[in-house]
Assembly symmetry: C2
Homo-oligomer: 232 residues x 2
DNA sequence: ACTTTTTCCTGCTTAATCGCAGGTTTTTTT
DNA sequence: AAAAAAACCTGCGATTAAGCAGGAAAAAGT
Protein backbone atom coordinates (compact mmCIF):
# COMPACT_ATOMS: atom_id res chain seq x y z
CA UNK A 1 0.00 0.00 0.00
CA UNK A 2 1.47 3.36 -1.00
CA UNK A 3 0.32 6.85 -0.06
CA UNK A 4 -1.64 7.34 -3.30
CA UNK A 5 -4.01 4.47 -2.56
CA UNK A 6 -4.30 5.34 1.10
CA UNK A 7 -7.61 6.82 2.22
CA UNK A 8 -6.54 8.52 5.42
CA UNK A 9 -7.59 11.96 4.21
CA UNK A 10 -6.40 13.67 7.37
CA UNK A 11 -2.85 12.27 7.17
CA UNK A 12 -0.27 15.00 6.78
CA UNK A 13 1.69 13.00 4.23
CA UNK A 14 -1.41 12.05 2.27
CA UNK A 15 -2.51 15.68 2.10
CA UNK A 16 0.78 16.66 0.48
CA UNK A 17 1.70 13.58 -1.53
CA UNK A 18 0.31 14.94 -4.80
CA UNK A 19 3.14 17.52 -4.83
CA UNK A 20 6.00 17.00 -7.24
CA UNK A 21 8.49 17.75 -4.45
CA UNK A 22 7.16 14.87 -2.34
CA UNK A 23 7.72 12.17 -4.96
CA UNK A 24 11.31 11.24 -4.08
CA UNK A 25 10.45 10.96 -0.40
CA UNK A 26 7.33 8.84 -0.62
CA UNK A 27 9.43 6.02 -2.02
CA UNK A 28 11.45 6.06 1.18
CA UNK A 29 8.49 5.22 3.35
CA UNK A 30 8.75 1.98 5.27
CA UNK A 31 5.84 -0.01 6.68
CA UNK A 32 5.67 -1.77 10.01
CA UNK A 33 3.20 -4.31 11.34
CA UNK A 34 2.62 -4.14 15.07
CA UNK A 35 0.93 -6.78 17.17
CA UNK A 36 -1.40 -5.78 19.99
CA UNK A 37 0.64 -4.71 23.01
CA UNK A 38 3.84 -4.05 21.06
CA UNK A 39 5.91 -1.14 22.32
CA UNK A 40 7.29 0.31 19.09
CA UNK A 41 8.57 3.59 20.52
CA UNK A 42 10.56 3.12 23.70
CA UNK A 43 11.05 6.02 26.06
CA UNK A 44 14.62 7.27 26.12
CA UNK A 45 15.71 5.43 22.97
CA UNK A 46 16.93 7.39 19.92
CA UNK A 47 14.14 8.62 17.68
CA UNK A 48 13.38 6.78 14.46
CA UNK A 49 11.68 9.67 12.71
CA UNK A 50 7.93 10.03 12.47
CA UNK A 51 5.27 7.34 12.45
CA UNK A 52 1.85 7.57 10.84
CA UNK A 53 -0.95 5.13 11.58
CA UNK A 54 -2.22 3.53 8.42
CA UNK A 55 -4.71 1.38 10.29
CA UNK A 56 -5.03 0.69 14.01
CA UNK A 57 -5.00 2.24 17.48
CA UNK A 58 -2.08 3.38 19.60
CA UNK A 59 -1.58 4.88 23.07
CA UNK A 60 1.20 7.44 23.59
CA UNK A 61 2.57 7.74 27.14
CA UNK A 62 5.27 9.11 29.39
CA UNK A 63 6.63 7.06 32.27
CA UNK A 64 6.84 8.74 35.66
CA UNK A 65 7.62 7.92 39.25
CA UNK A 66 7.72 4.21 40.15
CA UNK A 67 6.92 3.26 36.58
CA UNK A 68 3.50 4.87 36.73
CA UNK A 69 2.63 5.88 33.20
CA UNK A 70 0.77 8.95 32.04
CA UNK A 71 -1.04 8.41 28.76
CA UNK A 72 -0.86 11.72 26.90
CA UNK A 73 -2.80 10.83 23.79
CA UNK A 74 -4.74 8.14 21.99
CA UNK A 75 -4.24 7.94 18.24
CA UNK A 76 -5.81 6.24 15.25
CA UNK A 77 -5.85 6.15 11.43
CA UNK A 78 -3.95 8.95 9.71
CA UNK A 79 -2.53 10.42 12.91
CA UNK A 80 1.09 11.25 13.66
CA UNK A 81 3.29 9.81 16.41
CA UNK A 82 6.75 10.91 17.42
CA UNK A 83 7.11 14.66 17.54
CA UNK A 84 10.45 16.26 18.23
CA UNK A 85 13.75 14.56 17.71
CA UNK A 86 14.44 15.59 14.14
CA UNK A 87 16.90 18.43 14.21
CA UNK A 88 17.92 18.42 17.83
CA UNK A 89 18.77 14.72 17.56
CA UNK A 90 17.74 14.39 21.15
CA UNK A 91 16.30 11.29 22.78
CA UNK A 92 12.57 11.49 22.72
CA UNK A 93 10.71 11.09 25.98
CA UNK A 94 7.58 9.18 25.04
CA UNK A 95 6.62 5.59 24.50
CA UNK A 96 4.02 4.25 22.08
CA UNK A 97 2.14 0.96 22.42
CA UNK A 98 -0.31 -0.63 19.96
CA UNK A 99 -3.75 -1.17 21.50
CA UNK A 100 -4.59 -3.64 18.75
CA UNK A 101 -2.87 -4.96 15.63
CA UNK A 102 -1.71 -1.85 13.82
CA UNK A 103 -0.05 -0.97 10.51
CA UNK A 104 2.40 1.93 10.76
CA UNK A 105 4.15 4.04 8.15
CA UNK A 106 7.56 5.39 9.07
CA UNK A 107 9.87 8.05 7.68
CA UNK A 108 13.38 8.13 9.09
CA UNK A 109 14.73 11.19 10.88
CA UNK A 110 16.91 12.00 7.87
CA UNK A 111 14.05 11.70 5.41
CA UNK A 112 11.78 13.81 7.63
CA UNK A 113 14.47 16.46 7.83
CA UNK A 114 14.68 16.53 4.04
CA UNK A 115 10.91 16.67 3.66
CA UNK A 116 10.52 19.50 6.16
CA UNK A 117 13.13 21.62 4.41
CA UNK A 118 11.76 20.97 0.93
CA UNK A 119 7.99 20.78 1.25
CA UNK A 120 6.81 23.98 2.94
CA UNK A 121 3.12 23.10 2.93
CA UNK A 122 3.86 19.90 4.83
CA UNK A 123 5.99 21.79 7.35
CA UNK A 124 3.10 24.21 7.73
CA UNK A 125 0.66 21.36 8.29
CA UNK A 126 2.92 19.79 10.89
CA UNK A 127 3.34 23.14 12.62
CA UNK A 128 -0.45 23.48 12.77
CA UNK A 129 -0.72 19.99 14.18
CA UNK A 130 1.73 20.76 16.98
CA UNK A 131 0.06 24.10 17.72
CA UNK A 132 -3.29 22.36 18.07
CA UNK A 133 -1.87 19.61 20.22
CA UNK A 134 -0.18 22.22 22.37
CA UNK A 135 -3.48 23.97 22.86
CA UNK A 136 -5.11 20.69 23.82
CA UNK A 137 -2.30 19.78 26.17
CA UNK A 138 -2.40 23.14 27.93
CA UNK A 139 -6.15 22.74 28.36
CA UNK A 140 -5.46 19.35 29.88
CA UNK A 141 -3.01 20.89 32.34
CA UNK A 142 -5.76 23.25 33.42
CA UNK A 143 -8.24 20.38 33.77
CA UNK A 144 -5.83 18.33 35.87
CA UNK A 145 -5.41 21.30 38.18
CA UNK A 146 -9.12 22.01 38.56
CA UNK A 147 -11.30 18.97 37.93
CA UNK A 148 -12.45 16.43 40.51
CA UNK A 149 -11.80 12.73 39.92
CA UNK A 150 -15.33 12.16 38.68
CA UNK A 151 -15.00 15.03 36.22
CA UNK A 152 -11.64 13.82 34.98
CA UNK A 153 -13.01 10.34 34.36
CA UNK A 154 -16.05 11.70 32.51
CA UNK A 155 -13.78 13.93 30.44
CA UNK A 156 -11.60 10.93 29.60
CA UNK A 157 -14.58 8.78 28.58
CA UNK A 158 -15.93 11.49 26.30
CA UNK A 159 -12.51 12.01 24.71
CA UNK A 160 -12.08 8.29 24.06
CA UNK A 161 -15.60 8.07 22.71
CA UNK A 162 -14.94 10.96 20.35
CA UNK A 163 -11.58 9.60 19.26
CA UNK A 164 -12.53 5.99 18.63
CA UNK A 165 -16.28 6.27 18.15
CA UNK A 166 -18.91 3.79 19.32
CA UNK A 167 -21.38 1.23 17.99
CA UNK A 168 -24.76 1.38 19.74
CA UNK A 169 -23.05 3.36 22.50
CA UNK A 170 -20.26 0.84 23.04
CA UNK A 171 -16.88 2.54 22.77
CA UNK A 172 -14.85 0.99 19.95
CA UNK A 173 -11.72 0.15 21.92
CA UNK A 174 -10.66 -2.30 24.62
CA UNK A 175 -9.08 -0.36 27.47
CA UNK A 176 -8.47 -1.57 31.01
CA UNK A 177 -9.59 0.54 33.98
CA UNK A 178 -5.91 1.05 34.64
CA UNK A 179 -5.37 2.55 31.19
CA UNK A 180 -8.32 4.88 31.66
CA UNK A 181 -6.87 6.04 34.98
CA UNK A 182 -3.43 6.51 33.42
CA UNK A 183 -5.06 8.84 30.92
CA UNK A 184 -7.46 10.59 33.31
CA UNK A 185 -4.80 11.28 35.91
CA UNK A 186 -6.06 9.23 38.84
CA UNK A 187 -5.90 5.64 40.13
CA UNK A 188 -7.49 2.43 38.93
CA UNK A 189 -9.67 2.21 42.03
CA UNK A 190 -11.02 5.71 41.57
CA UNK A 191 -11.92 4.99 37.94
CA UNK A 192 -13.74 1.83 39.04
CA UNK A 193 -15.59 3.73 41.78
CA UNK A 194 -16.53 6.49 39.34
CA UNK A 195 -17.78 4.01 36.74
CA UNK A 196 -19.88 2.35 39.46
CA UNK A 197 -21.33 5.73 40.32
CA UNK A 198 -22.09 6.56 36.70
CA UNK A 199 -23.72 3.17 36.32
CA UNK A 200 -25.97 3.82 39.32
CA UNK A 201 -26.87 7.18 37.78
CA UNK A 202 -27.87 5.30 34.58
CA UNK A 203 -25.35 7.32 32.55
CA UNK A 204 -23.37 4.31 31.40
CA UNK A 205 -23.51 0.51 31.34
CA UNK A 206 -20.49 -1.72 31.87
CA UNK A 207 -20.98 -5.35 30.88
CA UNK A 208 -17.55 -6.85 31.45
CA UNK A 209 -14.81 -4.40 30.64
CA UNK A 210 -16.77 -2.85 27.78
CA UNK A 211 -18.28 0.57 28.33
CA UNK A 212 -21.55 1.79 26.86
CA UNK A 213 -22.40 5.46 27.15
CA UNK A 214 -26.16 5.82 27.59
CA UNK A 215 -26.36 9.59 27.66
CA UNK A 216 -23.56 11.65 26.16
CA UNK A 217 -25.40 14.94 26.67
CA UNK A 218 -25.82 14.49 30.43
CA UNK A 219 -22.17 13.53 30.78
CA UNK A 220 -21.11 16.55 28.76
CA UNK A 221 -23.33 18.75 30.87
CA UNK A 222 -21.63 17.61 34.04
CA UNK A 223 -18.25 18.93 32.88
CA UNK A 224 -19.54 21.81 30.78
CA UNK A 225 -18.20 24.49 33.12
CA UNK A 226 -14.70 23.33 32.26
CA UNK A 227 -15.21 23.28 28.49
CA UNK A 228 -16.48 26.62 27.36
CA UNK A 229 -15.48 26.28 23.74
CA UNK A 230 -13.37 23.39 22.72
CA UNK A 231 -13.53 19.63 22.51
CA UNK A 232 -10.21 18.61 23.86
CA UNK B 1 13.85 49.74 16.90
CA UNK B 2 13.72 47.33 13.97
CA UNK B 3 14.61 43.64 13.86
CA UNK B 4 18.12 44.27 12.53
CA UNK B 5 19.18 46.21 15.61
CA UNK B 6 17.43 43.86 18.00
CA UNK B 7 19.63 41.60 20.08
CA UNK B 8 17.16 38.88 20.97
CA UNK B 9 19.20 36.17 19.31
CA UNK B 10 16.66 33.45 20.10
CA UNK B 11 13.74 35.31 18.48
CA UNK B 12 12.29 33.36 15.57
CA UNK B 13 11.92 36.52 13.49
CA UNK B 14 15.40 37.74 14.31
CA UNK B 15 16.90 34.40 13.33
CA UNK B 16 15.34 34.66 9.88
CA UNK B 17 15.36 38.39 9.22
CA UNK B 18 18.55 38.31 7.17
CA UNK B 19 16.68 36.43 4.43
CA UNK B 20 15.71 38.29 1.30
CA UNK B 21 12.21 36.81 1.48
CA UNK B 22 11.65 38.34 4.94
CA UNK B 23 12.32 41.94 3.90
CA UNK B 24 8.80 42.90 2.80
CA UNK B 25 7.32 41.51 6.01
CA UNK B 26 9.63 43.06 8.55
CA UNK B 27 8.36 46.46 7.53
CA UNK B 28 4.88 45.39 8.56
CA UNK B 29 5.86 44.82 12.15
CA UNK B 30 4.06 46.95 14.72
CA UNK B 31 5.26 47.73 18.22
CA UNK B 32 3.21 47.87 21.39
CA UNK B 33 4.04 49.25 24.81
CA UNK B 34 2.38 47.45 27.69
CA UNK B 35 2.11 48.70 31.25
CA UNK B 36 2.50 46.28 34.14
CA UNK B 37 -0.72 44.34 34.64
CA UNK B 38 -2.07 45.03 31.15
CA UNK B 39 -4.04 42.19 29.59
CA UNK B 40 -3.04 42.44 25.92
CA UNK B 41 -4.42 39.06 24.81
CA UNK B 42 -7.93 38.42 26.07
CA UNK B 43 -9.26 34.89 26.23
CA UNK B 44 -11.97 34.25 23.66
CA UNK B 45 -11.29 37.36 21.61
CA UNK B 46 -10.24 37.07 17.94
CA UNK B 47 -6.51 36.53 17.46
CA UNK B 48 -4.31 39.42 16.41
CA UNK B 49 -1.48 37.34 14.97
CA UNK B 50 1.69 36.59 16.85
CA UNK B 51 3.44 38.64 19.51
CA UNK B 52 7.16 38.63 20.28
CA UNK B 53 8.60 40.11 23.44
CA UNK B 54 11.22 42.70 22.65
CA UNK B 55 11.81 43.49 26.30
CA UNK B 56 9.82 42.49 29.38
CA UNK B 57 8.02 39.65 31.13
CA UNK B 58 4.60 38.15 30.44
CA UNK B 59 2.42 35.41 31.94
CA UNK B 60 0.26 33.29 29.63
CA UNK B 61 -2.83 31.73 31.19
CA UNK B 62 -6.11 29.92 30.63
CA UNK B 63 -9.16 30.74 32.70
CA UNK B 64 -11.05 27.85 34.27
CA UNK B 65 -13.87 27.20 36.69
CA UNK B 66 -14.98 30.18 38.81
CA UNK B 67 -12.42 32.39 37.13
CA UNK B 68 -9.52 30.39 38.56
CA UNK B 69 -6.65 30.86 36.17
CA UNK B 70 -4.05 28.33 35.15
CA UNK B 71 -0.77 29.94 34.13
CA UNK B 72 0.62 27.77 31.35
CA UNK B 73 3.87 29.60 30.66
CA UNK B 74 6.06 32.51 31.67
CA UNK B 75 7.79 34.34 28.83
CA UNK B 76 10.54 36.91 28.37
CA UNK B 77 12.77 38.57 25.76
CA UNK B 78 12.65 37.04 22.29
CA UNK B 79 9.88 34.58 23.07
CA UNK B 80 6.65 34.03 21.14
CA UNK B 81 3.10 34.49 22.38
CA UNK B 82 -0.11 33.56 20.60
CA UNK B 83 0.06 30.20 18.98
CA UNK B 84 -2.76 28.93 16.81
CA UNK B 85 -5.38 31.12 15.26
CA UNK B 86 -3.74 31.86 11.96
CA UNK B 87 -5.32 29.66 9.36
CA UNK B 88 -8.26 28.29 11.26
CA UNK B 89 -9.32 31.83 12.16
CA UNK B 90 -10.60 30.48 15.42
CA UNK B 91 -10.86 32.35 18.70
CA UNK B 92 -7.78 31.73 20.75
CA UNK B 93 -8.21 30.38 24.24
CA UNK B 94 -5.44 32.02 26.21
CA UNK B 95 -4.87 35.33 27.90
CA UNK B 96 -1.59 37.18 28.27
CA UNK B 97 -0.76 39.73 30.98
CA UNK B 98 2.39 41.83 31.33
CA UNK B 99 4.19 41.20 34.64
CA UNK B 100 6.10 44.47 34.23
CA UNK B 101 6.33 47.19 31.62
CA UNK B 102 6.90 45.32 28.38
CA UNK B 103 7.62 46.15 24.74
CA UNK B 104 5.93 43.81 22.26
CA UNK B 105 6.35 43.25 18.54
CA UNK B 106 3.29 42.13 16.64
CA UNK B 107 2.65 40.64 13.22
CA UNK B 108 -0.98 40.47 12.13
CA UNK B 109 -2.64 37.17 11.30
CA UNK B 110 -2.52 38.02 7.59
CA UNK B 111 1.16 38.91 7.67
CA UNK B 112 2.00 35.78 9.65
CA UNK B 113 0.11 33.69 7.12
CA UNK B 114 2.17 35.24 4.32
CA UNK B 115 5.42 34.75 6.19
CA UNK B 116 4.70 31.11 6.99
CA UNK B 117 3.89 30.30 3.38
CA UNK B 118 6.94 32.13 2.00
CA UNK B 119 9.74 31.63 4.52
CA UNK B 120 10.15 27.89 5.05
CA UNK B 121 12.98 28.15 7.56
CA UNK B 122 10.84 30.34 9.79
CA UNK B 123 7.94 27.90 9.52
CA UNK B 124 10.36 25.16 10.47
CA UNK B 125 11.59 27.15 13.47
CA UNK B 126 8.05 27.79 14.62
CA UNK B 127 7.21 24.12 14.19
CA UNK B 128 10.19 23.22 16.35
CA UNK B 129 9.08 25.73 18.96
CA UNK B 130 5.60 24.21 19.17
CA UNK B 131 7.00 20.68 19.25
CA UNK B 132 9.23 21.59 22.17
CA UNK B 133 6.46 23.37 24.01
CA UNK B 134 4.21 20.36 23.42
CA UNK B 135 6.82 18.11 24.94
CA UNK B 136 7.11 20.42 27.93
CA UNK B 137 3.36 20.65 28.33
CA UNK B 138 2.91 16.87 28.21
CA UNK B 139 5.61 16.52 30.83
CA UNK B 140 3.69 19.01 32.92
CA UNK B 141 0.52 16.94 32.60
CA UNK B 142 2.46 13.99 33.96
CA UNK B 143 3.84 16.05 36.82
CA UNK B 144 0.41 17.36 37.78
CA UNK B 145 -0.85 13.79 37.93
CA UNK B 146 2.02 12.46 40.01
CA UNK B 147 3.71 15.16 42.09
CA UNK B 148 2.80 16.19 45.62
CA UNK B 149 2.07 19.84 46.38
CA UNK B 150 5.55 20.39 47.78
CA UNK B 151 7.13 18.89 44.67
CA UNK B 152 4.97 20.96 42.35
CA UNK B 153 5.90 24.16 44.18
CA UNK B 154 9.61 23.31 44.06
CA UNK B 155 9.30 22.50 40.37
CA UNK B 156 7.60 25.83 39.77
CA UNK B 157 10.26 27.76 41.68
CA UNK B 158 13.06 26.12 39.73
CA UNK B 159 11.30 26.81 36.43
CA UNK B 160 10.78 30.46 37.28
CA UNK B 161 14.37 30.75 38.46
CA UNK B 162 15.63 29.24 35.20
CA UNK B 163 13.35 31.40 33.09
CA UNK B 164 13.94 34.77 34.71
CA UNK B 165 17.28 34.20 36.42
CA UNK B 166 18.36 35.54 39.79
CA UNK B 167 20.72 38.06 41.38
CA UNK B 168 22.45 36.72 44.48
CA UNK B 169 19.80 34.02 44.61
CA UNK B 170 16.86 36.43 44.44
CA UNK B 171 14.55 35.49 41.57
CA UNK B 172 14.31 38.36 39.07
CA UNK B 173 10.55 38.73 39.00
CA UNK B 174 7.79 39.90 41.32
CA UNK B 175 5.15 37.20 41.57
CA UNK B 176 2.45 36.87 44.20
CA UNK B 177 1.96 33.59 46.03
CA UNK B 178 -1.33 33.36 44.16
CA UNK B 179 0.45 33.55 40.81
CA UNK B 180 2.89 30.85 41.85
CA UNK B 181 -0.02 28.62 42.86
CA UNK B 182 -1.82 29.32 39.58
CA UNK B 183 1.26 28.06 37.79
CA UNK B 184 2.09 25.15 40.12
CA UNK B 185 -1.46 23.79 40.11
CA UNK B 186 -2.43 24.25 43.76
CA UNK B 187 -3.82 26.92 46.07
CA UNK B 188 -2.32 30.10 47.47
CA UNK B 189 -2.36 28.67 51.01
CA UNK B 190 -0.50 25.55 49.99
CA UNK B 191 2.19 27.61 48.29
CA UNK B 192 2.56 29.71 51.43
CA UNK B 193 2.76 26.62 53.62
CA UNK B 194 5.31 25.01 51.31
CA UNK B 195 7.45 28.17 51.24
CA UNK B 196 7.34 28.21 55.05
CA UNK B 197 8.49 24.62 55.08
CA UNK B 198 11.32 25.29 52.64
CA UNK B 199 12.36 28.28 54.74
CA UNK B 200 12.52 26.10 57.85
CA UNK B 201 14.63 23.61 55.89
CA UNK B 202 17.00 26.49 55.00
CA UNK B 203 16.45 25.90 51.29
CA UNK B 204 15.07 29.37 50.60
CA UNK B 205 14.66 32.78 52.24
CA UNK B 206 11.59 34.97 51.81
CA UNK B 207 12.04 38.56 52.92
CA UNK B 208 8.72 40.13 51.96
CA UNK B 209 7.34 38.68 48.79
CA UNK B 210 10.80 38.22 47.27
CA UNK B 211 12.18 34.70 47.08
CA UNK B 212 15.85 33.78 47.45
CA UNK B 213 16.90 30.25 46.58
CA UNK B 214 19.73 29.23 48.90
CA UNK B 215 20.40 25.79 47.49
CA UNK B 216 19.30 24.96 43.96
CA UNK B 217 20.94 21.54 43.99
CA UNK B 218 19.08 20.31 47.06
CA UNK B 219 15.80 21.55 45.60
CA UNK B 220 16.54 19.83 42.31
CA UNK B 221 17.41 16.66 44.13
CA UNK B 222 14.06 16.59 45.85
CA UNK B 223 12.20 16.36 42.55
CA UNK B 224 14.86 14.47 40.62
CA UNK B 225 12.83 11.27 40.36
CA UNK B 226 10.33 13.18 38.24
CA UNK B 227 12.90 14.75 35.92
CA UNK B 228 15.03 12.08 34.41
CA UNK B 229 16.24 14.04 31.43
CA UNK B 230 14.72 17.38 30.74
CA UNK B 231 14.45 20.78 32.29
CA UNK B 232 10.86 21.62 31.75
C1' DA C 1 -16.02 -27.64 30.34
C1' DC C 2 -12.72 -26.88 33.62
C1' DT C 3 -8.78 -24.44 35.45
C1' DT C 4 -5.93 -20.56 35.69
C1' DT C 5 -5.12 -15.97 35.24
C1' DT C 6 -6.38 -11.53 34.86
C1' DT C 7 -9.27 -7.89 35.62
C1' DC C 8 -12.75 -5.72 38.13
C1' DC C 9 -15.07 -4.30 42.31
C1' DT C 10 -15.87 -2.66 47.25
C1' DG C 11 -15.11 -1.55 52.20
C1' DC C 12 -11.98 0.31 55.20
C1' DT C 13 -8.05 3.03 56.72
C1' DT C 14 -4.79 6.49 56.08
C1' DA C 15 -2.93 10.47 54.10
C1' DA C 16 -3.02 14.57 51.51
C1' DT C 17 -5.09 18.61 50.12
C1' DC C 18 -8.41 22.25 50.41
C1' DG C 19 -10.83 26.21 52.24
C1' DC C 20 -12.17 29.23 55.86
C1' DA C 21 -11.19 32.50 59.37
C1' DG C 22 -8.57 35.70 61.67
C1' DG C 23 -4.31 37.84 62.52
C1' DT C 24 0.20 39.78 61.00
C1' DT C 25 3.28 41.78 58.04
C1' DT C 26 4.45 44.29 54.03
C1' DT C 27 3.50 47.49 50.54
C1' DT C 28 1.22 51.34 48.67
C1' DT C 29 -1.15 55.58 48.92
C1' DT C 30 -2.20 59.99 50.80
C1' DA D 1 4.66 59.53 58.67
C1' DA D 2 0.28 57.81 59.15
C1' DA D 3 -3.51 55.39 57.13
C1' DA D 4 -5.31 52.18 53.99
C1' DA D 5 -4.90 48.40 51.19
C1' DA D 6 -2.94 44.46 49.75
C1' DA D 7 -0.45 40.47 50.43
C1' DC D 8 1.19 37.04 53.46
C1' DC D 9 0.87 33.58 57.14
C1' DT D 10 -1.07 29.79 60.26
C1' DG D 11 -4.34 26.76 62.76
C1' DC D 12 -8.09 23.80 62.25
C1' DG D 13 -11.92 21.23 60.52
C1' DA D 14 -13.87 19.30 56.28
C1' DT D 15 -13.29 17.09 52.10
C1' DT D 16 -11.23 14.46 48.80
C1' DA D 17 -8.32 11.18 47.07
C1' DA D 18 -5.12 7.32 47.60
C1' DG D 19 -3.71 2.74 49.07
C1' DC D 20 -4.48 -1.86 50.92
C1' DA D 21 -6.67 -6.17 51.08
C1' DG D 22 -9.76 -9.62 50.01
C1' DG D 23 -13.41 -11.33 47.22
C1' DA D 24 -16.19 -11.65 42.77
C1' DA D 25 -16.51 -11.77 38.05
C1' DA D 26 -14.83 -12.13 33.57
C1' DA D 27 -11.47 -13.53 30.16
C1' DA D 28 -7.99 -16.57 28.54
C1' DG D 29 -5.86 -20.88 28.16
C1' DT D 30 -5.86 -26.05 28.31
Amino acid sequence: MDCFNCNNKNCIIKRNCHLESMKPFIAKKSTLNCKKGQNFIIEGAPVHGLYFIQEGKVKVAKTGLNGKEQIVRFTTNGETIGHRGFGAGQAYQISAVALQNTVLCNFSTDTMQQILLNVPTLTYDLMTFYAEELNRSETKVKKFAQMTVREKVIDALLYINRKYGNTNGFINVQLSRKEISDFAGTTEEQVIRTLSGLRKDKLIETPGKRICIKNVDLLRKEISEHNYFIDS
